[in-house]
């Protein structure tokens, strides 16, 4: 039975199949595309017409082997230049999980795309070539994953076949990376020796590396525990939309629709609404399929309260004794994503934080971070494309904010250029007053 058929069986039996989003990283030629191709192929998620198309193009270009990179490099320009420019999304499933892969480009000039892919990832795979060991990009990618708080990191030491499956080579790289990761506060690190080309330790344990006692990569991806990555403690429900039907059949209905950012909401719970500070109790938590006993991330629900209070989009439902900061002075790490104009002190922008829109002025730039050496340059006066720095912002209205390290949803924001409407920066709140 194919894995997809097994996946179907799992669904049919009501066995829950959950969702894991992961991003891939690594420098050019470390074997990312080969690995993705291998995962798709071995889980029967690659279709014959896709493979035939890739083979035909590969042959026409005179490639010596079928270039699996063409599977993910879907744009004309990417194929012509032979590089990955933008994130591509790929899907596969096994009986246990559905996977969404964000295949992110490795070059430094595409740091913003790596940040984009990492922002929603539960896990990141970083590839290194066993012959070359850690390179600048391996460290940079590890740093970006830690900055974006990707909860699980997997270092894949690839091309083990080219180093005679040497335990010594593997351990040297693993030790060096583990030492580096310790400085970054990476919550969960796994290191796997693989050969993406030959399939060693991808879906099953390799006979070529009996000294390796850990699981094959897919086994790890299927079982890594992600349920507790969610914050189930701090109740945060950003109000997205107020449902108030204008109809003769449904009268006097008023519900606050949104997606639970964190915590568990139940009927009867005492809640506080920010920024007003009014309190009430949850009368019901509803979905289109009827009321539910509780709501938790990532559910999209509608919350109804016992009291009529004035609530609109951008407000936040939390608990009286556990609330986010209500802050207009924000300290954040910002990754700048605009090639046309740098972030400058004094610059004014729009920002979007949860479901709340505000304007902000950059009050200060404490330092710019060299993402290779982690050196802080305090003399910096601006942030250019792909640069990261610590910034102080003043907003027009208060944000209802948590530290990003505690809450990826209520701690992250985007910066929008008011003239071009483009998304020009990603912010992660580091401190709230």
């Amino acid at each position: 039975m194919s894995t997809e058929t097994l996946a179907t069986a799992a669904v049919a039996e009501g066995r829950p199949m959950d969702l894991l989003r992961f991003a891939t990283a690594g420098s050019v030629d470390d074997g990312k595309s080969t690995l993705i191709g291998r995962l798709l192929y071995d889980t029967k998620s690659l279709f014959t017409d896709q493979l035939a198309a890739v083979e035909a193009v590969s042959a026409a270009r005179g490639d010596e082997y079928t270039n699996l990179a063409l599977l993910t490099d879907g744009l004309r320009a990417e194929r012509e230049q032979g590089i990955t420019i933008d994130v591509a999304y790929r899907y596969f499933a096994t009986p246990r999980r559905k996977f969404i892969i964000a295949d992110t480009p490795g070059h430094i000039q595409y740091t913003r795309n790596m940040v984009t892919g990492a922002s929603t990832a539960d896990l990141a795979l970083i590839l290194v070539d066993a012959r070359k060991g850690l390179v600048e990009q391996s460290r940079r990618h590890a740093f970006l994953c830690s900055l974006l708080r990707v909860p699980h990191l997997v270092l894949c030491v690839n091309k083990m076949d080219l180093v005679d499956f040497s335990q010594e080579v593997f351990e040297r790289i693993a030790d060096e990376f583990t030492a580096f990761a310790a400085k970054l506060d990476v919550p969960d690190l796994t290191v796997v020796p693989i050969s993406a080309l030959r399939g060693d330790n991808i879906v099953s344990r390799s006979e070529n590396m009996p000294w390796y006692e850990g699981p094959a990569l897919l086994h790890h991806l299927e079982r890594v525990h992600i349920a507790s990555d969610r914050n189930l403690v701090d109740v945060r429900f950003p109000v997205q939309y107020v449902i108030r039907p204008q109809s003769t059949t449904v009268t006097d209905y008023r519900g606050y629709a949104g997606q639970v950012a964190s915590g568990v909401l139940k009927p009867g719970d005492e809640v506080m609404v920010l920024p007003s500070g009014f309190t009430s109790r949850i009368a019901a938590v509803e979905t289109a399929d009827g009321p539910v006993a509780e709501a938790f991330p990532p559910m999209s629900v509608t919350v109804r309260l016992e009291n009529e209070i004035d609530i609109s989009r951008g407000d936040m439902i939390c608990r009286p004794n556990n609330a986010p900061a209500v802050a207009q002075d924000i300290e954040a790490m910002v990754c700048w994503m605009d090639e046309t104009r740098p972030l400058q002190v004094g610059g004014k922008y729009s920002i979007k934080h949860t479901t709340r829109a505000a304007r902000a002025i950059v009050r200060g730039l404490h330092y710019r971070l060299d993402i290779n050496s982690l050196h802080r340059d305090e003399s910096a006066t601006e942030l250019g494309l792909n640069e990261i720095g610590r910034v102080r912002l003043r907003t027009t209205i208060p944000l209802l904010a948590d530290e990003y390290r505690r809450n990826r949803t209520t701690g992250g924001f985007i910066i929008i250029d008011e003239a071009t409407n483009r998304t020009v920066g990603a912010g992660m709140i580091v401190e709230t007053p």
């Binding site: 879907g74 939309y241 039907p245 990826r408 949803t409």
Partner: protein
């Protein structure tokens, strides 16, 4: 508190994400419209829209870009759903655009490409600034690069090399007058996810999605139904076959696949076992060139 109790299935997670996206659009953009073709993806999208705004009504109209080459079962379905839900239906008509001279009939008779100007004219006329489309990233390699919120300039064009970064679930729908946003709530769904959802939600589909007997011809290795839009060519052998449709597009260029799957469960088994993508199996229009989809999308196609 044990986290094990707070699990959701992948279908629940996908549904929650799509509902979130639809609510964001309605909250932030004044004039959304949902592209409704009567195909399975747009039908699933419509169900998600119902859920997102319940117990209220779906707060936007639907639009059908009508090539004039329709499967009658699909048109019937469209009209029935629209009436049941009390929706406003906007029809952007290719035959009317041909009559008025906005577009010209292509030599090969397929109207896929000329849909784009017709769509864009309707968008302009009704001043829609957000268009929900049912495209999925697993369908095609150019679509694998799409954002959930995809910016279009005043000519409706997509610039794949210059897309807005899309971080977390913070979607940026800002645009200037005349520009618009295409929104793809099903981005992260696969064909199989869509079918599992249809089964779970007991969603009715046009009958041509299930196995039936039909008179077909074989052309370029695909089976095409013989009908008024697609007459058999000289020398082509017409024969009866048991088929179903995996996608529903223009009746002149959408092929059927051989199938005995006459229930949703059988379709799920079939889709799970198939080794050919749905567009690869059924769309003559994507075979034109390696970048056919990217080129059409750049012009404003979905």
């Amino acid at each position: 508190m044990t986290s094990a109790a707070y699990q959701v299935t992948h279908l629940d997670a996908l549904e929650a994400e799509s509902i979130f996206v639809m609510r964001e659009v309605v909250a932030e953009l004044e004039r959304p419209v949902l592209l409704f073709s009567g195909g399975k993806d747009s039908i699933v999208m419509l169900r998600l829209a119902q859920k997102a705004f319940a117990p209220g009504h779906i707060p936007f109209p639907v639009m059908h870009v009508d090539t004039g080459h329709n499967f009658p079962e699909v048109l019937d379905y469209r009209d029935r759903r629209v009436a049941e839900l009390g929706l406003q239906l906007v029809v952007a008509s290719v035959p009317e655009a041909l009559a008025s001279g906005l577009v010209r009939e292509p030599a090969d008779g397929t109207r896929n490409r000329i849909q784009t100007p017709v769509l864009l004219e309707a968008v302009e006329k009704h001043r829609f600034n957000a268009l929900f489309g049912g495209a999925r990233r697993d369908e095609e390699k150019a679509r694998a690069k799409e954002r959930m919120f995809s910016f279009r300039d005043e000519f409706g064009q997509w610039d794949p090399k210059n897309q807005r970064p899309e971080l977390w679930a913070l979607y940026n729908g800002r645009h200037h007058p005349g520009e618009s946003i295409r929104v793809f709530p099903l981005s992260n769904w696969t064909e199989l996810d869509v079918w599992h959802y249809i089964a779970r939600e007991r969603i009715e589909l046009p009958s041509i999605y299930y196995a039936h007997d039909r008179e077909v011809v074989e052309r370029d290795g695909m089976l095409y139904a013989v009908n008024e839009f697609l007459p058999a060519r000289a020398g082509e052998d017409r024969f009866k076959a048991r088929v179903r449709y995996r996608t529903v597009g223009d009746a002149s260029c959408t092929a059927a696949v051989r199938s005995d799957a006459d229930t949703v469960e059988k379709v799920i088994d079939e889709v799970a076992a198939t080794r050919i993508t749905e567009r690869g199996a059924t769309r003559g229009d994507d075979r034109v060139s390696e970048a056919a989809m990217e080129d059409r999308k750049r012009e404003g196609y979905f």
